[in-house]
Symmetry: C2
Subunit: 218 residues, 2 copies
């Protein structure tokens, strides 16, 4: 990681650099093998800055997850009792585009969630998810169920899992599986995948889903 | 694993027991941590039997993969130039039901395929896949493409990945994700998932897909 030349090297920049290096290192190595010293060295800042900004390695991990997921937060906030599935589309699009920027992050989430409940990374991840995602998303799915927006031939309780499957599997799949399909993970692929998945969901899962309102949020 | 009482403890039984213990141990531990002595002890047979039947640890791993995947083989053989997608359904059903019997096996495949190309488990897995799956499946997909059986609004090159996503993600997902959706992995869940996924694919991906011909192959 090269430091940007000619920019003031203020405290905010140090904080951002710590988040970025934490994301890279926690994605590449097991949680217990990543030390605060290692992150500070990669970020080229004093290790005391980690204590100052985040309190500890745990605090830094948690904040790194929170910041990486934060673009989705605004959509979750917009979700309310009258949601029709349109916000779900926006979340799927924002999530996929954000993940395209940090291609190793989905695997980090997947691996952390696969750990036992007692494992620190799993607990920290769960904490961030619980803050603003799981409950709102659940409420919206309940709404979709109550308003009978799913097709009669699909299993409504499996619809949320199917949406996750279509969006998450390509992001965590072994590169060999993408290669087998002659696909490469990049921004163009993400946009193709989004358009394709919306078509499948629109025809295969929903009775109605507004299709003209997804904006490019890049 | 209890030995069945009252059955003749012939050579075939020792071989089957070695396969079964290999599947359990290779799913639970990294490949290099599993020794032939360990497998022989779990199977309660002499370690020399591994050399006799499989040649080596590599040979046993390979044969364990081959036998676990073998129920799909018959369907791949049936696939031919006139396939319409019906065989794909049969393969999806057979695969899901076989995986329900060995719930840790999909994760073993997923983890092995995520390894670098030089890793032994990845190479052995690839060898078995290449034998009878990848090429036949590719031929069938080419047929589906050529005969324009996919809907116009989906991306035909992504259809194979979507089918994998819908079937594989629920099998490898962290238990926490199933719990979040109030789902439990068992045979009933697999049957629900199959019916649900067929409905999504039929309406969301295919123009036509015979729906009255999937037999219970259990």
């Amino acid at each position: 990681m090269n430091r940007k030349v000619g920019r003031p090297s203020g405290k905010t920049e140090a904080r951002d650099e710590l988040i970025e290096q934490a994301r890279t290192l926690f994605s590449a190595l097991p949680y217990e093998k990543v030390s605060t010293r290692m992150i500070a060295e990669s970020a080229q800042v004093n290790a005391a800055m980690i204590r100052y900004y985040f309190g500890s390695k745990e605090g830094l991990f948690e904040e790194m997850i929170r910041e990486t997921m934060s673009p989705m937060r605004i959509h979750f906030r917009k979700m309310n009792e009258s949601s029709t599935g349109h916000e779900l589309r926006e979340i799927m699009a924002t999530h996929a585009r954000q993940m395209a920027k940090f291609p190793n992050f989905p695997r980090l989430v997947f691996q952390s969630m696969s750990m036992p409940e007692s494992a620190k990374p799993r607990q920290l991840l769960q904490k961030v998810f619980d803050e603003y995602m799981v409950l709102t998303e659940e409420k919206v799915f309940e709404q979709l169920l109550r308003r009978k927006l799913f097709r009669d031939d699909v299993d409504p309780e499996l619809c949320r899992l199917s949406m996750m499957s279509l969006m998450m599997f390509p992001l965590i799949a072994p590169p060999a599986i993408l290669e087998m399909n002659e696909l490469t993970m990049n921004e163009e692929f993400i946009e193709r995948l989004l358009a394709h998945n919306f078509a499948i969901l629109e025809n295969g899962m929903f009775k109605t889903l507004p299709s003209n309102t997804v904006k490019d949020t890049q």
